[in-house]
């Protein structure tokens, strides 16, 4: 039995994910779309701040072993496009591309239901499940939890709409999360490794944004330099290691708490909790 949605809901989700994709592309946003999504006064600088500066929505940043764009995790998602016969876009694992792909799949699903074509429907539903269950759910809930924290106010509706869409797309009885997963125990014995660890969400379980670092630095009386996140982190750790570490620990605890409150809906967050708890230990050892 195919676990398909109602065709009307498919089309509605398809419409909304298209619009969410437009926002995430961080280019100029059509006024009609901003109005419909309830993003009053959203400016290019808001899009820049969330999607370029703080939380670039590339899956590979949150899934890869080095926290960088590209690599295996990007190659995996490219495979989905190829399997569907869709040209692989320049940024296949960017949320804008993923939502655009999801929207196409949902519309195809609606059509298959309306046409009564069971084999075609099975195939489309399977594709949607792979994209959502095996891919988006592994990182997007954690991403959105951080987005709630740092998104500029005009984009808060974008975050909550993504959350709503993801809830509706999640399987009714979600597959058990990898609670017994081994924790990545990299040896973190110097500052460079600590910075690498903290900026690699798949290992640390936390998402530390530039805005987070700026906020913490301001709280402990530091001015923030220009440069990449790694450069900025290195600077503040060298200048004020203890004060900064304490604040980072507090942030990790807050993220753990946010993850736990959402694990009932998105069980994959359990793995993020495990890793984040480990990060607390590592940070404490480093001190």
């Amino acid at each position: 039995m195919t676990e398909s949605f109602d065709p009307v809901l498919c089309r509605q989700l398809g419409e909304v994910t298209s619009a969410l994709s437009e926002v995430a592309s961080a280019t100029e946003l059509r006024a009609e779309i901003a109005d419909a999504l309830g993003l009053p006064g959203v400016a290019r600088s808001d899009l820049y701040r969330l999607f370029i500066k703080d939380l670039p929505p590339f899956a590979s940043i949150y899934l890869s072993a080095d926290g960088n764009i590209g690599g295996d995790s990007q190659a995996v998602i490219s495979g989905i496009y190829r399997a569907l016969g869709v040209p692989v876009p320049n940024d296949p694992d960017h949320l804008s591309s993923l939502f655009a792909l999801l929207s196409q799949i949902l519309v195809a699903e609606a059509k298959s239901i309306e046409n009564g074509s069971e084999p075609e429907l099975s195939s489309v539903v399977r594709t949607r499940q792979v994209l959502v269950n095996d891919h988006l759910l592994t990182w997007l809930p954690a991403y959105l939890i951080s987005a709630i924290r740092v998104a500029p106010q005009p984009l808060s509706n974008w975050v909550s709409l993504c959350w709503d869409a993801l809830r509706l797309l999640s399987p009714p009885a979600e597959a058990p999360g990898p609670k017994d997963r081994e924790v990545c125990l990299d040896q973190v014995d110097n500052l460079a490794k600590l910075i690498d660890f903290l900026t690699t969400p798949s290992k640390s379980g936390i998402i530390l944004t530039l805005s987070d670092i700026e906020t913490i630095s301001t709280e402990i009386g530091l001015a923030v330099r220009a440069g990449t996140k790694r450069m900025v982190l290195k600077d503040v750790f060298l200048t004020e290691p203890e004060g900064f570490s304490e604040k980072v620990e507090a942030l990790i605890r807050r993220q753990i708490s946010d993850y736990i409150s959402a694990t009932a809906e998105f069980s994959y967050l359990d793995a993020w909790v495990v890793n984040a708890e480990n990060a607390l230990k590592i940070l404490s050892n480093c001190q």
Binding site: S25, A26, S45, P89, L161, A226
Partner: protein
């Protein structure tokens, strides 16, 4: 996020309903609602918000991680004509430019560049560039120079110009512009002096391509909407080197990804041809026959857009003038249309072009199927190669016009609608003089100045020059018959003072009296706008270090303060020179170069551009205000501004009632009005049709009872039939047709072949890209392409040298045997073969030569290849190439097309093994023969005295740089 699942669902439903409704509304307007994923990745470009403080690791310090901080300041590339956006990375510690990359804020190039853009860093750090004003020490061309102050040079030049103006020798002042890369500044300077002294390179470049468009639409070039086309038809190597190729190539690539088909007509297997779905390699000069066979297929099978043709072609004029005996209705027109083109069958086109008739038919079916999504492009290539090349362009527009693919999504726009030229602070009046040296009476229909004939016209005693500027232009090397230019420049009786405005040494500058250093892309101010998609933008070229210094609190009032040595920029140079020509304002010149803010003071560059950006660019002040910037600051920070997107079919625009006071409508529906012209917002040049006999200006055209804007042509419609051509002596060519080229098989002698000499190399751009070490390493020679069948017939191998002989001389080159060229044709790129006379002068791609003169014999004899040398750049000691090609243009006689004025570049040549004493790179020219060819082509003209229908020198409505006053446009007494 504590809503119930039901809440989430109802929220999604509600928002989806609103989105769907909005989407339907937007789609109904023909617009796209969702743009799709941006494909803008973090890795592409630094986001604009971080340009003030961009940090990168220094690649040269690897593996050490040394940080460098940059200010990213935009400017515009000055190499080819595309005017792509660049970002200069100014190192905050050293205050120097470290590199150039693409400017993602530029709407045309969208952050992408070809190799020539980033190579700007080679040009500004070139150890052999000219840094100070130089004056000749010995006789002209003898090669000794001494440094002078700018004051000394300016005073001498200004004094000569002032005297010539006072003595009414205005025709003796001329400024010869290479590729302008700016919109009208220099023209307005010359207009302010009251001289008709503008000379351009256009008649060795694009006049024929322009003419084909101009006679149809009153606008002189195509702006193809490639990104949205279904079929793309390129008469050129457009993806790699065509006009605006980088902005166009990226859009063609997008279209191909969508499934658009690409058809390329190019005798040579260019990189573009290798990417085509159909590559047609015709015998050169037969492209119009191919176009007409496609048009004929569309016509005979009634596949044309009947309503478009009925409404927008000036078919009534053709029927009235040419078929007065027929019914003047549309069905009769269609009947005559079928009749006039019926002989252009695929078989005929095949017999002319050598391309299989079946292939031509296949292509015609694809073209016809594109309907309004047919995007075509032509610029130089075939149009620039052939006698009658302008008809190749005109027949290509015919296909667009048949399909209704004019100003449609995916079709082809006239350029002026996709270009924006803002009104400057001053617009001096039309000069009261007409310069016969650039616009001689024999070429009344020439699109541009007969620039390449200048030495011949002066040799005939038609005039002389007191001051001749060549502005970033190298006519000795670039123009045909370069030896005639050397003869001219060596004669001080004919050219009193030659001033070379150039960043680097070139073949022509060697013969100058003054060599004045001008800035590269990041060292000068200019404003540019070019038609690259259906939209309008402006881009700001700026001296980036001046902007950097200003942002850091330094007061910079002169670009020389920021440039290396005493390198200047033209804008400030022209203002300063104009003040020195007219120091007290008595000549009426100075007022056009004075500050409006501070009367009596010199106009500053900041005021000049500040005025334009504040007053003449719709939307720019508002965009700037949103960022808390002045409009000038906005352009300094962003480098470009998109004025309009999706301009659409302006010819269908209704004329507002307020423009319709005191109107008259002629029998063809042309509407004239007494309402004064509203102030123009966009000064992009177009045709300017004449008023009616009562002096009303043309304002539009009546079509099916509606009063519409139409086209800037005399009829207000697309002119399938050009009454202008008919009335000015060319009735036989008044509709799109096929002219057999001067290199048509019928015109070749036995054993002669055709030499295609006009193709560009993707990484070079004539002499503009000189001294760019990266580019020179990639491309530095130009072997002659020759088909294996011809090589076998001529018993030539690649180890041989060959002699290529034209009507006036020969050059000695190396052959490259390749199936990339069709049999019977050879090809040689014109970017190579640079030379210098001074053995001490350093250059990466110039061989040292001597020039030998004996009577009319001229010979260029190679002495030594370029050698590695020590300089401030260690790379000059590492360069490895010795072969710098051959200067082929020297052996090309002038071939002025009698209609468009275009130099017809293709040559009938014979190719043979070199003689034992021949030296690679050697060139011989017979100047007597060069004069004879000029005289012979002059005989083909139909001069204005015998053809002008109204006593004018040239149809007033045609575009012309620096158009003289109406009075000055009258023919002189014979």
């Amino acid at each position: 996020m504590t809503r119930s699942l039901g809440d989430s669902e109802s929220r999604i439903q509600r928002i989806a309903a609103v989105l769907s409704a909005r989407r339907e509304e937007v789609l109904a307007r023909g617009e796209r609602f969702y743009q799709g994923p941006s494909n803008i990745s973090l890795a592409s470009h630094p986001p604009f918000e971080r340009w003030d403080n961009w940090v990168e690791l220094d690649s040269a310090s690897w593996p050490e991680k040394r940080e460098r901080r940059f200010s990213l300041i935009p400017t515009t590339c000055f190499n080819c004509e595309s005017a792509c956006g660049l970002l200069a990375y100014v190192d905050k510690d050293t205050g120097r430019v470290a590199k150039f990359e693409g400017n993602p804020e530029h709407p045309g190039s969208r952050g992408k560049n070809c190799a020539k853009g980033p190579a700007t860093i080679n040009q500004i750090t070139d150890p052999d560039r000219i840094l100070y004003p130089l004056k000749r020490s010995k006789g002209r061309g003898q090669g000794e120079w001494h440094r002078v102050s700018w004051d000394e040079a300016l005073d001498d030049i200004a004094s000569r110009i002032r005297t010539a103006i006072i003595e009414d020798r205005k025709d003796e002042i001329m400024c010869h512009i290479g590729r302008p890369g700016e919109d009208g500044f220099t023209e307005r300077v010359l207009a302010s002096w009251g001289v008709d002294g503008h000379n351009s390179h256009t008649n060795v470049c694009s006049s024929a391509g322009r003419a084909g468009w101009h006679y149809w639409a009153g606008m002189d070039r195509p702006s193809a909407d490639f990104a949205n086309a279904d079929v793309i038809f390129l008469t050129s190597a457009h993806l790699e080197t065509g006009h605006y190729f980088n902005p166009h190539a990226q859009r063609i690539t997008e279209a191909r990804e969508r499934g658009a088909k690409v058809i390329v007509i190019d005798t040579r297997l260019s990189n573009t041809a290798t990417h085509a779905d159909w590559w047609l390699s015709p015998y050169p000069g037969t492209e119009a026959a191919i176009n007409l066979s496609i048009a004929n297929y569309i016509i005979q099978n009634d596949l044309f857009d009947r309503e478009f043709v009925r409404r927008w072609w000036n078919w009534e004029e053709w029927m009235e003038d040419v078929h007065p005996d027929k019914e003047a209705d549309f069905p009769s027109f269609v009947e005559q249309l079928k009749e006039v083109y019926k002989d252009f069958t695929f078989d005929y086109a095949s017999s002319e072009s050598g391309i299989d008739a079946k292939v031509l038919e296949e292509v015609a079916v694809v073209v016809a199927g594109a309907k309004s999504k047919f995007a075509s492009h032509i610029w130089r290539s075939a149009a620039a190669g052939n006698l009658g090349g302008w008809q190749i362009s005109r027949t290509l527009v015919l296909i667009n016009a048949l399909l209704g693919a004019i100003a449609t999504e995916g079709g082809t726009y006239p350029n002026a609608w996709n270009k924006f030229v803002p009104k400057p602070i001053y617009v001096p009046p039309h000069p009261e003089v007409w310069n016969d040296l650039t616009w001689p009476v024999e070429y009344p229909l020439s699109m541009n100045e007969m620039s390449f004939l200048l030495p011949h016209l002066i040799e005939q005693g038609r005039g002389k020059l007191e001051v001749y500027f060549a502005r970033v232009y190298n006519p000795v090397w670039t123009n045909p018959d370069g030896m005639s230019w050397i003869d001219l420049l060596l004669d001080q009786e004919k050219v009193g003072c030659y001033v070379a405005l150039t960043p680097t040494w070139n073949e022509t500058a060697y013969f100058a009296d003054y060599v004045l250093p001008m800035g590269h892309a990041s060292e000068r101010h200019d404003l540019a706008s070019y038609e690259q998609y259906d939209g309008q933008w402006i881009a700001f070229r700026q001296p980036v270090l001046r902007t950097f210094m200003g942002a850091n609190g330094e007061v910079v009032t002169d670009t020389r303060q920021a440039n290396p040595g005493e390198v200047w920029e033209e804008n400030e140079f022209w203002i300063e020179l104009s003040w020195r020509i007219d120091p007290d304002g008595s000549l009426g010149i100075r007022k056009y170069h004075e500050s409006q803010r501070n009367p009596g003071e010199k106009l500053s560059i900041d005021e000049y551009y500040g005025f334009i950006f504040e007053n003449s660019v719709p939307g720019l002040p508002q965009a700037a205000a949103r960022e808390g910037l002045s409009p000038l600051q906005y352009m300094q920070r962003h480098g470009a501004f998109e004025v309009k997107k999706k301009v659409g079919a302006l010819y269908e625009e209704e004329i507002p009632d307020q423009e319709l006071d005191g109107t008259s409508i002629n029998s063809k529906g042309r509407i004239f009005t007494r309402t004064p012209k509203p102030p123009a917002i966009n000064l992009a040049p177009t045709g300017d049709p004449d008023p009616d006999p009562e002096g009303r200006r043309p304002v539009g055209v009546e079509v099916d009872g509606r009063l519409l804007r139409g086209f800037p042509t005399p009829s207000g419609k697309l002119e399938f039939y050009s009454q202008t051509l008919a009335q000015w002596g060319w009735a036989d060519q008044a509709i799109p047709g096929y002219i057999k080229s001067h290199i048509h098989r019928e015109n070749l002698r036995e054993n002669e072949m055709v030499l295609i000499s006009t193709f560009r190399l993707p990484v070079q751009i004539h002499t503009r890209s000189a001294n760019s070490k990266w580019l020179d390493e990639i491309a530095h020679t130009n072997p002659v392409w020759i088909n294996p069948l011809d090589a076998k017939r001529l018993q030539i191998t690649e180890t041989d040298l060959i002699r290529v002989k034209s009507e006036i001389g020969y050059f000695v080159a190396k052959p490259w045997i390749t199936e990339g060229i069709r049999p019977g044709v050879v090809a040689c790129s014109h970017h190579m073969g640079r030379w210098k006379l001074d053995p001490e002068q350093n250059a990466l791609t110039m061989r040292t030569v001597t020039l030998q003169n004996s009577g009319d014999d001229r010979k260029l004899v190679p002495k030594s290849p370029p050698q590695p040398y020590k300089s401030s750049d260690p790379d000059t000691g590492r360069f490895w190439w010795k072969d710098v090609g051959v200067h082929q243009n020297l052996i090309f006689p002038v071939h002025p097309d009698p209609v468009s004025g275009m130099h017809c570049w293709h040559q009938a040549v014979s190719v043979e093994k070199a003689q034992p004493t021949d030296v690679y790179g050697e060139v011989y020219v017979d100047r007597r023969a060069s004069r004879e060819v000029f005289e012979r082509w002059l005989e083909m003209t139909r001069d204005a005295f015998s053809t002008s229908p109204d006593g004018t020198r040239r149809p007033r409505w045609l575009m012309r740089p620096l158009k003289p006053s109406k009075q000055a446009s009258l023919l002189p007494p014979r």
